[in-house]
């Protein structure tokens, strides 16, 4: 962010104010804006406390040194822990939400650096990256504790590092993108979807480099160093954390953690085998609606106006640098195809890598339009400059997008997760046993493990117990402790008396004799 920083380090004659003026002069204002403006936007709209679903799980795991479900997310656990020590407020949930805001803004800054290398001017960069920063899902995921903006920041870092290597290939420069990619695997397994594009770029740009032993050695060393972050998982397992989403409860309510010090347990967790059934989970005839839904999402993301220039930029970049564009296209397609075929409810949140690539194309497209709009003969002083219309249209689109999307994403007054969890704990009787899913359980565990509330209550995520074991555990437990569940099944309805208590249902034995014999 500081141009020629070394010049500032050289002692020069003059007062302190002169040094400040020099600092202001040398400060790279466009880079400062590329980070500062989106961060300001995200800071103003970030969720003020613990948020729900995965966000609560990530926050609780970071705060309590716990373990997350597959794929383990060790880099997030590590960086999140470091971030959580920053004095950014008393509420741990809020601090972790700001971590995503920082990563979202960092993504924009790194994308700005990539576009500079592609000779994209300030107006086009601001227009393209402004739309990326204010794209509904990119914005929304910069406001809550999540892994996605860290993923896009690392992805932008990988692309930037590869461009840096391509300028002057050395073993050290080769090691950097490999290191970033290995680290990124520790944040999100979808980093694997970037590998075909990166391999394409390396093989088409400097193929002989890979034959040099020093380059290979540097790459292997970087990979070993980056993947070392996964060692956090067996280390945390050894500490037997209170918050552990890698394992299963049995019918007697005993938790059996997956042994992360065995290769089988470790591999099953980091490869996400529990979600294998959702991958490529659609039949062929179900795919067209999924594809259309994604294209609509992309259209909304770039506020309609970015669609044409983005496609133009892709075409222009093919002609300008087919090797680079091949990498971007591989990364875009690998992510789009994988997630379009991924049968999960929240997959709309997972397309951010494709947004990043499209924003780079959009920057190139905008720059092309600015050049295109400029007449070959310059008009005289004070005359109308058509390219300025394009420039202001780009900035206007960003302003409109921010205005239009603000209401959709703003979480600055969203206390719903904390209120819901607090209400459940307040209503739960002493020594209660509570069953629920991600929309209820991790946030309650946050209140227990991070804020020390109601340690007498046992909370079990239904994801961590088989349906049969859960029923057996409930029908045993209701005879001697209060049991609550988010949604009782017919088997429970038949054998228990169900009373609604807040968002949960209280289960009580209907016929103790029958239940005792189950």
């Amino acid at each position: 962010m500081i141009k020629q920083a070394e010049s500032l380090m050289t002692p020069r004659p003059g007062s302190g104010s002169a040094a400040l003026r020099r600092l202001i002069f040398w400060l790279d204002w466009t880079a400062a804006a590329a980070f500062g403006l989106p961060f300001l936007l995200y800071w103003l709209t970030a969720a003020p406390t613990i948020y729900n679903l995965d966000s609560a799980e990530f926050t609780t795991a970071v705060a309590s040194n716990g373990l997350i479900r597959a794929t383990g997310y060790p880099l997030y656990l590590l960086l999140g822990k470091l971030w959580s020590w920053l004095p950014l407020g008393a509420d741990m949930g809020y601090r972790m939400n700001l971590f995503s805001a920082f990563n979202g803004a960092l993504t924009i800054l790194l994308a700005d650096r990539i576009l500079r290398r592609l000779d994209v001017g300030g107006w086009a960069r601001m227009g393209a990256l402004g739309l990326l920063a204010s794209a509904p899902f990119f914005w929304a995921l910069s406001l809550i504790a999540e892994v996605y903006t860290l993923h896009t920041a690392l992805m932008a870092g990988v692309i930037l590092a590869l461009l840096h290597w391509a300028d002057a290939p050395t073993p050290g420069r080769f090691a950097l993108p490999v290191l970033l990619m290995a680290l990124s695997l520790g944040n999100h397994a979808a980093t694997a979807l970037l590998v075909p594009g990166a391999v394409w770029f390396v093989l088409t740009r400097h193929p002989r480099q890979l034959l040099r032993p020093r380059v290979l050695l540097a790459g292997l060393g970087a990979m070993a160093l980056g993947t070392a972050v996964f060692l956090i998982l067996p280390l945390r397992y050894a500490a037997q954390p209170a918050f552990n989403y890698a394992g299963l409860y049995d019918a007697s309510g005993v938790f059996h953690p997956t042994n992360l010090q065995s290769w089988d347990g470790f591999w099953a967790l980091i490869t996400g085998q529990t979600f294998a059934g959702q991958m490529f989970g659609y039949h062929l005839h179900e795919l067209p609606p999924q594809l259309i839904a994604y294209l609509k999402q992309l259209w909304f993301a770039f506020f309609a106006i970015g669609v044409g220039p983005g496609l133009l930029g892709m075409a222009v970049l093919w002609r300008k640098d087919w090797r680079l564009n091949g990498m971007l296209a591989f990364m875009f397609l690998a992510n789009a195809i994988f997630y379009i075929n991924y049968r999960v409810i929240d997959k709309d949140t997972m397309f951010l890598p494709t947004y990043l690539i499209f924003a780079l194309w959009l920057g190139v497209g905008y720059q092309t339009l600015i050049r295109w709009a400029a007449p070959s003969a310059k008009p005289g002083n004070g005359r109308f400059r058509p390219e300025s219309v394009v420039q202001w249209a780009m900035i206007g689109a960003v302003v409109l997008a921010v205005g239009a999307n603000w209401q959709r994403v703003d979480l600055s007054d969203d206390w719903s997760t904390r209120e819901q969890s607090q209400a459940i704990l307040d209503q739960a009787e002493p020594n209660a046993l509570i069953f629920g899913w991600w929309d209820t359980v991790p946030a309650i565990q946050y209140l227990q493990l991070v804020e020390g509330q109601r340690p007498d209550v046992t909370v079990i995520n239904r994801f961590l117990i088989s349906p049969e074991d859960m029923n057996q555990l409930i029908l045993t437990a209701i005879n001697h402790r209060p049991v609550y569940i988010n949604n009782p099944s017919i088997a429970l309805l038949r054998e228990t008396t169900v009373t609604a208590v807040g968002p949960l249902y209280r289960l009580e034995p209907k016929n103790r004799q029958v239940l005792t014999h189950r």
Partner: protein
């Protein structure tokens, strides 16, 4: 028009075509999406069973709609814990059916639609003797199930 102005007009027109290409798709895109919050993705954890009316006279036909279920799955319909039929959920995890209360006594009935133990929702209806007959809203679809097991005998007439 001078040559410079002509060039400017052409360049602006071409630029606008590219800039507004996406805007031209507005009629095919539809309304902006809902607010992005955790509630948008939490439906999968709590399927919902809705009914068109909470109560009616015996003989009413209630229209039930389930949502938030696993897609393309067989869902069983229970009345007071007894299975009365089954429906398939669609690719969006929704299913509809009608419940005919012909011959049922006035009482409260718990209707459950369940795919499995983790995807179950219950809705109550009440039959009141002096209530009004409820009929399904126009356009309601789905198989009809009965609270009471009914056998329709063929109507045979002697010539």
């Amino acid at each position: 028009m001078s040559r410079l102005k002509q060039e400017i007009v052409i360049r602006i027109a071409l630029t606008l075509v590219v800039l507004l290409a996406g805007v031209a798709l507005v009629p095919f895109i539809g309304q902006p999406m809902k607010a992005i919050g955790w509630e948008l993705f939490a439906g999968v954890y709590s399927p919902v069973l809705d009914v068109n009316e909470p109560s009616g006279a015996p003989g009413s036909v209630f229209a039930f709609t389930g949502s938030g279920y696993p897609a393309n799955s067989m869902a069983t319909v229970y009345v007071n814990g007894n299975p009365v039929g089954a429906v398939m959920t669609d690719p969006a995890g929704a299913a509809s059916f009608l419940l005919d209360t012909f011959g049922a006594a006035p009482d409260q009935y718990n209707v459950t639609l369940e795919v499995d133990i983790n995807a179950s929702a219950t809705q109550s209806i009440e039959l009141v003797a002096d209530g009004t007959i409820v009929t399904p809203p126009p356009g309601s679809s789905g198989e009809t199930f009965f609270i009471n097991y009914i056998v329709f005998l063929p109507n045979i007439q002697k010539q």
